[in-house]
Symmetry: C2
Subunit: 283 residues, 2 copies
């Protein structure tokens, strides 16, 4: 059984491109329809009600492109809106929090896990619930890191300021948690700061800390879920229904929509690893 329809992917902006990149690598026959809500980014400082309202508008947009599956490639939207969308929509959905929690629960050897994310994700306690559902004995410590998103968008991954900000946040976490071996990057922007975060963690916790990237964990879970549901595309006819002829790989026929295009091209290169132009979307 195959299904040649596209997979919808959305995020508050460009961070979800780290998920799109992992999906393209893991699922070379799938086409993606990506929507980055760049006009209203960031979601991490907004209330749950606002994030749910925006997520509904985006799901409606993606369904108009007849997607077979929706990946909520944003931790804040996963925390606040995934349950509401699942209750309302007929297509299967995957967020990034359950996969990130699964990966962390598999890897944590000490009894405690750290989670860093936006104000909204941390306040939702969604990682805490997901981790404790998997391993009830785990103690979960969280720290909101609101400056990480703008630092990632500025491309300051290797700037000394980012190192100092990372030490600030991880020290605050460490004062609560004591030693940790596993730290969830609970925001799709954070993989771009992974080196600075790993260095700060080594310094603050006095040991190597395993960083769990929820983007690649989510891609793994989407691969498994698509196969179980018989929703995967195959190579032969995955041409978008247009009769083929352009000859590109499916990933090159993926489409990327944005609600504001002012910096998408520049940021996409950083997050997706290749240049794409954003097509304008009206929600």
């Amino acid at each position: 059984m195959t299904d040649q329809r596209a997979i919808g992917v959305f995020d508050s902006g460009v961070g979800g491109l780290t998920v799109a990149r992992a999906l393209e690598a893991a699922l070379p026959h799938e086409r993606l329809i990506y929507l980055g809500d760049t006009a209203r980014v960031p979601y991490g400082t907004k209330s749950a009600d606002t994030v749910i309202r925006y997520s509904r508008q985006i799901a409606r947009f993606l369904l108009a492109y007849d997607v077979k599956y929706i990946v909520v490639a944003c931790n804040t939207a996963s925390a606040h809106a995934l349950d509401a969308l699942r209750a309302e929509l007929d297509v299967p959905l995957m967020g990034v929090i359950a996969p990130g929690a699964r990966a962390a629960a598999e890897r944590a050897e000490l009894g405690a896990v750290g989670v860093i994310g936006t104000i909204g994700t941390v306040a939702s306690r969604a990682y805490q619930r997901a981790l404790q559902a998997l391993r009830p004995e785990l103690v979960v410590f969280s720290q909101a890191c609101p400056l990480f998103v703008p630092l990632a968008e500025e491309g300051w991954g290797n700037h000394p300021v980012t190192a100092q900000v990372a030490r600030h946040y991880l020290s605050a976490l460490q004062r609560d948690s004591g030693v940790l071996d596993t730290l969830v990057l609970g925001c799709t922007h954070y993989p771009l700061l992974a080196e600075a975060i790993a260095d700060a963690a080594r310094e603050v916790f006095g040991r190597e800390v395993d960083l769990v990237d929820s983007a690649s964990a989510a891609a793994d879970d989407v691969v498994r879920d698509l196969a179980e549901r018989g929703l995967g595309a195959d190579a032969a006819t995955a041409d978008g229904g247009g009769g083929g002829g352009d000859g590109g790989a499916p990933a090159q026929r993926s489409r990327f929509f944005v609600t504001d295009d002012s910096r998408f091209g520049e940021l996409a290169t950083r997050f997706l690893g290749r240049r794409v132009d954003g097509e304008p979307a009206e929600l």
Copy 2:
């Protein structure tokens, strides 16, 4: 001639509260209707088209409250949307860029002025045009400082990271400009970082640099413009048309609307200098 109707004030979020604060101090008989578009903040990284569309929606909201005047208390919206709003609306409008440019042109003794602001404000070159219209011989150097808004919203005005970020941006400005005596804070968030910016400027430029706060310059110009137009309120009846009886000063009867209320109370205390709760607004 007096006019007891309220003054509308809007911003992408909380930064415009620095303008509201200056207006309340300068015009104690006026009531304000403030709209902070906190659901879609920041505007500084968005395209002109998006900022114009959002500004129109907000002006419509304020006019439903029968405002007599609108203050665009946001540099990015002033840069991109003020001309469009003036062409479409019957009420007078004041932005923050013309007042900030006027104050800077009055104060600059050397032949160069520096302007720091968001990506959108700097790219618009609006300060450059306004300054050169006043003093054609002035050379204007600009620097976008995208991390200043999140640092101000985090309350990191006195944090060493802010000092380091300020040195980074002002050094980049100095490499273009050479020595300056006048620097326009071209974003309503920046007054909260004034101390760090002044310290960095002293270090980078090797002299005291006069920081021009466009918020207080705009309040001065609104006072003058209201008087010239005969639109000022007087103390006796400035009760919002409701028959009086609550006995508060007009400022205490000002109303503050937000499109997302998740952090407004906390941030308002920092920016307005007193606690207010945001009333929900649907645009």
